[in-house]
Structure formats: structure tokens, C-alpha cells
């Protein structure tokens, strides 16, 4: 369609519907093989977790002093990934950002499944998972309630609130779209979409209340997204461990979360755009803007690394300085430099407008960012624990097969759920694309002019 866009009336509302609904037609064998592959890995990871529950945490590589390692790294990584969805769907909605309309549904879906993945890790990390309910405000047998001064309890509240609000936000946005899908489908799909659409007919009365509820949800989700990763960062910053105890952590973690999350949106959208043939909805204009967000947050993250280093030097605290010396030049120093390369250096390529719209280059850069941000969390969490106050305790951690399998399974779980959503529910919002149809037409005309 992009090449045919020469006038100001295409694509029409109907063209948008056709492009999105075509994606929701019955997928082929390769798709089902991919989903089966993902869930086979999940089953393997589940079996490894079952073994861990049966045999205890001894099957992991967790040993004193590194008792938080890959599982908690994965938790922070996935919570971070989740952040871009709310940024794109709520914060950019409040700012009426034009390019968000085509990408926000995929980002929001990614958010929901990323939080659902992150939420598994505190459970997986527990030696006695059957006591997980102790985090809830529920008194134990001695009527002792959870300690609300503990950041771990804040985290339980923050992550469960985030999961609930993300799910509600996604569901609210889906209602007009599934009502549209209901009108254009048959068989079990019609029943499925009718149930989800709740009898939506788009009356002025429905839109009046819907628009207000959506606006207020966006307004509530905006400070929530900033609070959640701040609370996650306080899991570390509230402790007195060198490398963790820092006032910079909240803004530093939030910027890092948006950085990694937007990179993950790019990682998912570029292949999805090609495989689902939605080049006419996701244009280089959208990717150009996503890349600018990655570049901006990369600069903030780089600045945070520099500030953290400066603070360590300026504080004159010998123990803190030793921790950071080991972080840069110790046995795990290579991880720090991988993180600097991936998070600070490679994203600088995005200053080039040509690279920002070169989707292959952008996709490769986004993968580097994902790798770099995973290492960042690992370096902070396990790296600081390995080199604590007392050198006689220093010990370096090696992940076990159980931990690696569960990590791979969590990626498979996330990709499997996302793949299922992408083919059975509208992965691009038809309603919002139509609302901003003028901007989409303009973006496609620009592509056409370039191609011509």
C-alpha cells in the first residue's frame, strides 16, 4: 500500500481495518511450530523449577555472599522492559504524541507480558515458594503483619499494582477494536470478540465516559510507571551494600528501564512488521521516533554511569571505591565494559538519521541494548554482592543449568504469549490509527516520495 499512497485520502479507515484484521486470520503451520517451540522451552523451564522446589536452592549457583544473581537480574530486567509500554501508551498519550498510535498496542502488550514474566521471578527465587503469600498483608500465626518499612513489601505492592493497571489499560484500549473485529468476523472468533467487546457500539454516551476513563487511567499510570522502577531500585538502594546504596538509583533505573523497554519494542516490531506484512501501518517514521527515544535515554544512562563514578570518587569512601574498582577492573570487569559498549557507545550511531530508518541496523542496535541492559543489572546486583565489605567473603558466582534453563524459558514464555496475542487480538490499534489517520497518510506519503 505504501507505494500507492499519493493522494490525501489513502489509506482509508477501511484500509486500516483490512491491514489489521488480515493479521488476525488463521495463522499457518510455521506460526504454530514457533508457538509450540516456545512453550516446549517453557515446559522444560517449568520442570527445572519443579526440581529446584523439590531439591532446594542448592541446585542453583547461589552461594554466600552472592544470594541474589540471575533470578533477580531477570526480575529487574523484565520490569524494566515493561516500562516502555506504559511510557508509550500513557505518557505519550497525555502529550498527544503523533507517532505512538501505531506502536502503542504492541508496546502495551509487551508491558503486560513482561510484568507477568517479571512477577514469576520473586517466586522462582524463593526457596520455599509455598510461603510467597507472606509478602501479602496477611498476618502469620503469631499475628505478625508484613513490615511496611521494607522495600520488598513496597515492591510487592508496586509490581502487583502495575500488573493490574497495565492489564486494565490494555483491556480498555482493546474494547473498540474488538467491537470492530466482532463486526467483521465469523464463527468462534465472532463469539470471542463479542464477549470481549462487552456490547460496545461506539455511541456518544459510551465514548464520553470511555474517553474520560482512558484519560484518567493514563494520568494514573504515568506517575505509576515512574514509581515502579523507583521502588525496584530501592530494593537495592535502601540496603547498605557498597554499589547498591545510592541516591541516584531511582532516576537511573527509570531511565534505564525506558531505554531497555523501547529497545525491546524495536526488537519485536521490526520482525513483526515484516512477518505480519504491516509495513503500511508501521512506517520508518515510527521507528525513527522510537530510535530517538533510545538515543535520549542512552545519553541519560551514560550520564548516570559517569555520575555514579564521580560520586564514588568524590565521597572518599574507600570501600565504595574498591567495589567500583572491582566492577571496572575485577574478574567481572569485562561485563561492565560490555555494558558500556552496548548502552553508551553503540547507541551513539543513532545520531545518524540514516541509521535510524535503516531497520536492519536499528534492529541490531536494539539487540545490543537489550544485552547491555541485562548485563547492567547483573553487574549491579551480583557484582556488588560478590565484592562486599569483607574481602575474606569475596566470591564469584557461576550460574547453574537450572538458572540458565529458567532464564531461557522466561524469554520463551514472553515470546510465546506475545505471539499468541499478535495473531488473535489487534496488535495495532485500529481506533487510534483512524483517529490520527492524517499523520499516517503523511508518513506514508513521505516514504512514497523517497521511494520515487
Amino acid at each position: 500500500m505504501a507505494a500507492a499512497v499519493q493522494d490525501t485520502t489513502t489509506p482509508s479507515f477501511r484500509d486500516v481495518d483490512r491491514s489489521v484484521l488480515r493479521v488476525m486470520e488463521m495463522p499457518g503451520r510455521i506460526y504454530w511450530l514457533w508457538v509450540a517451540f516456545c512453550f516446549s522451552l517453557v515446559a522444560f523451564g517449568g520442570a527445572m523449577w519443579a526440581r529446584q522446589i523439590y531439591q532446594g536452592l542448592g541446585v542453583t549457583g547461589l552461594r554466600q555472599p552472592v544470594m541474589w544473581a540471575i533470578y533477580i537480574t531477570n526480575f529487574v530486567f523484565w520490569v524494566g522492559i515493561a516500562h516502555s509500554g506504559t511510557l508509550i501508551s500513557a505518557i505519550l498519550f497525555l502529550f498527544r504524541t503523533r507517532w505512538r498510535t501505531a506502536v502503542y498496542r504492541a508496546a502495551e502488550t509487551m508491558t503486560l507480558f513482561a510484568v507477568a514474566t517479571a512477577g514469576l521471578y520473586p517466586l522462582i527465587h524463593l526457596g520455599r515458594v509455598w510461603n510467597a503469600y507472606w509478602l501479602l498483608p496477611y498476618p502469620n500465626e503469631r499475628y505478625l503483619q508484613p513490615n511496611f518499612r521494607s522495600p520488598l513489601v513496597w515492591d510487592a505492592f508496586a509490581v502487583s499494582t502495575y500488573l493490574t493497571i497495565s492489564a486494565l489499560f490494555l483491556f480498555m484500549g482493546l474494547i473498540p477494536d474488538v467491537a470492530n473485529a466482532r463486526e467483521q468476523s465469523t464463527g468462534w472468533r465472532k463469539t470471542f470478540y463479542s464477549l470481549l467487546a462487552l456490547g460496545w457500539q461506539g455511541t456518544d454516551e459510551q465514548w464520553r465516559h470511555y474517553s474520560m476513563a482512558y484519560l484518567l487511567l493514563a494520568g494514573l499510570a504515568t506517575p505509576l510507571v515512574l514509581s515502579v522502577h523507583s521502588v525496584v531500585s530501592w530494593d537495592f538502594a535502601m540496603a547498605q551494600l557498597p554499589g547498591w546504596h545510592s541516591t541516584i538509583f531511582a532516576p537511573y533505573f527509570v531511565a534505564g528501564a525506558i531505554f531497555s523497554g523501547v529497545a525491546m519494542v524495536i526488537t519485536l516490531l521490526i520482525p513483526m512488521r515484516k512477518w505480519l506484512h504491516i509495513e503500511d501501518l508501521l512506517t520508518p517514521w515510527h521507528f525513527d521516533n522510537l530510535a530517538k527515544v533510545v538515543l535520549l535515554t542512552s545519553l541519560i544512562v551514560s550520564y548516570s554511569y559517569a555520575t555514579e563514578t564521580f560520586m564514588t570518587w568524590y565521597s572518599g569512601d574507600k570501600i565504595e571505591q574498591m567495589t567500583f574498582h572491582m566492577r571496572y577492573f575485577g574478574p567481572w570487569g569485562w561485563m561492565f565494559w560490555v555494558m558500556v559498549l552496548c548502552n553508551c557507545t553503540i547507541p551513539l550511531l543513532l545520531f545518524s538519521p540514516r541509521i535510524r530508518v535503516n531497520l536492519t541496523a536499528l534492529w541490531i542496535i536494539s539487540i545490543f541494548v537489550n544485552i547491555g541492559m541485562w548485563f547492567e543489572r547483573f553487574v549491579i546486583i551480583a557484582g556488588s554482592l560478590a565484592v562486599n565489605f569483607n574481602p575474606s567473603q569475596w566470591a564469584f558466582y557461576r550460574p547453574s543449568l537450572t538458572e540458565l534453563s529458567i532464564t531461557v524459558a522466561s524469554f520463551a514464555w514472553f515470546l510465546g504469549l506475545f505471539s499468541l496475542f499478535a495473531r488473535f487480538l489487534p496488535i495495532v490499534s485500529m481506533t487510534e490509527l483512524k483517529e490520527g489517520i492524517g499523520w499516517l497518510r503523511k508518513a506514508l506519503r513521505k516514504d512514497y516520495e523517497k521511494a520515487a
Partner: protein, 170 residues
């Protein structure tokens, strides 16, 4: 008084639909209902209904969240006065975090529930005049009026650019 009728006009263009609503309101029909595939501020302003009551529900929900968090944190701390880390039994700074999270949680749930309640969804009946195209690419205006006003309403709809005008018995 002549019997009531309903006239349905279908538009391809949002602004034509908006102008038509403004003209129709001047005629003061018995009822006016608009179907739209997208949320439209133009249409919302033209119809001139007051702001949604969802705001009040969300405010109440958010306030309830804060009060619940105070009750939870302060109440459970008082229940067993255990000093942890030398901090006061009622430590407001950490409790504010729980208050904030529950404010957002209760406010968000209130937003969705009040939308469902005020917009009357789930809706089990199809509104009169609804067509599947109003969920796809057309804007619809359903005017309920006396039969005597019918011709005038139809002419406004047609002059405003309605692609199709259908008269139904109310």
C-alpha cells in the same frame, strides 16, 4: 402530537457529522444519538453533554485507596508494636509509598468500573439505528423527533452531506 419517528443518517466524514449535529440541535429534536468508530472531541463538543461523572468516581476511588493504605500500614503497625531498625512504629515516609500505590490501584479500578457503570456496558441489546459500519468507517446520527419535524431533519441530514438517510418508526 404526531407520532415519534427515528431518522438515521450515515456520514463518511467526521466534520460533516459534527456540523450536522450542531444544526440538528437547533431544531431541538426529542433525542439525538451519535455512533462513531473513533473518539471525537468535535462530536463530543457539538453534542454538548456535560463532562463524564467518571472523574468523581476516580477521585473517590483514589481517596479510598489512600485511606485504605493508612488503615493498613498504621493499623497493622499498631497491632504489634515491633520496633524494626530503630525506626518509629508509624513511619510515614515508607507508608506514603503504599498510600501512593493503593491510590493508583483503587483509582484505576474505579476508572474502569465507573466507565462500565456509566456507559452501561456490558450492553446486551443493540441500540436502535446501529449499523456494523459505525464500528468501522462511518459516523451515524440517530434523531428521534415528531413526524412533523421529519422532513426538516431529513433535509438537514442530506444538506450536511449524509450518504444515506433512513426513516424508521420509533
Amino acid at each position: 402530537m404526531s407520532p415519534s419517528i427515528e431518522i438515521v443518517g450515515s456520514f463518511a466524514d467526521e466534520m460533516a457529522c459534527t456540523h450536522c449535529i450542531e444544526k440538528l440541535r437547533a431544531v431541538r429534536p426529542a433525542a439525538l444519538r451519535v455512533f462513531s468508530p473513533i473518539p471525537s472531541h468535535h462530536i463530543e463538543h457539538a453534542i454538548g453533554k456535560p463532562k463524564s461523572r467518571v472523574r468523581a468516581f476516580v477521585l473517590t476511588g483514589g481517596a479510598l485507596g489512600i485511606v485504605s493504605a493508612i488503615a493498613l500500614t498504621v493499623g497493622t503497625s499498631w497491632e504489634w508494636n515491633l520496633v524494626v531498625g530503630g525506626k518509629p512504629i508509624v513511619s510515614w515516609p515508607p507508608f506514603i509509598i503504599i498510600m501512593f500505590e493503593l491510590m493508583v490501584l483503587f483509582g484505576g479500578i474505579s476508572a474502569v468500573l465507573s466507565f462500565l457503570f456509566n456507559a452501561r456496558v456490558p450492553a446486551f441489546e443493540i441500540e436502535r439505528g446501529y449499523s456494523s459500519r459505525f464500528s468501522e468507517d462511518r459516523f451515524g446520527i440517530v434523531v428521534r423527533c415528531d413526524e412533523g419535524q421529519g422532513a426538516q431533519v431529513e433535509s438537514i441530514l442530506k444538506e450536511s452531506g449524509a450518504e444515506e438517510v433512513v426513516r424508521e418508526a420509533a
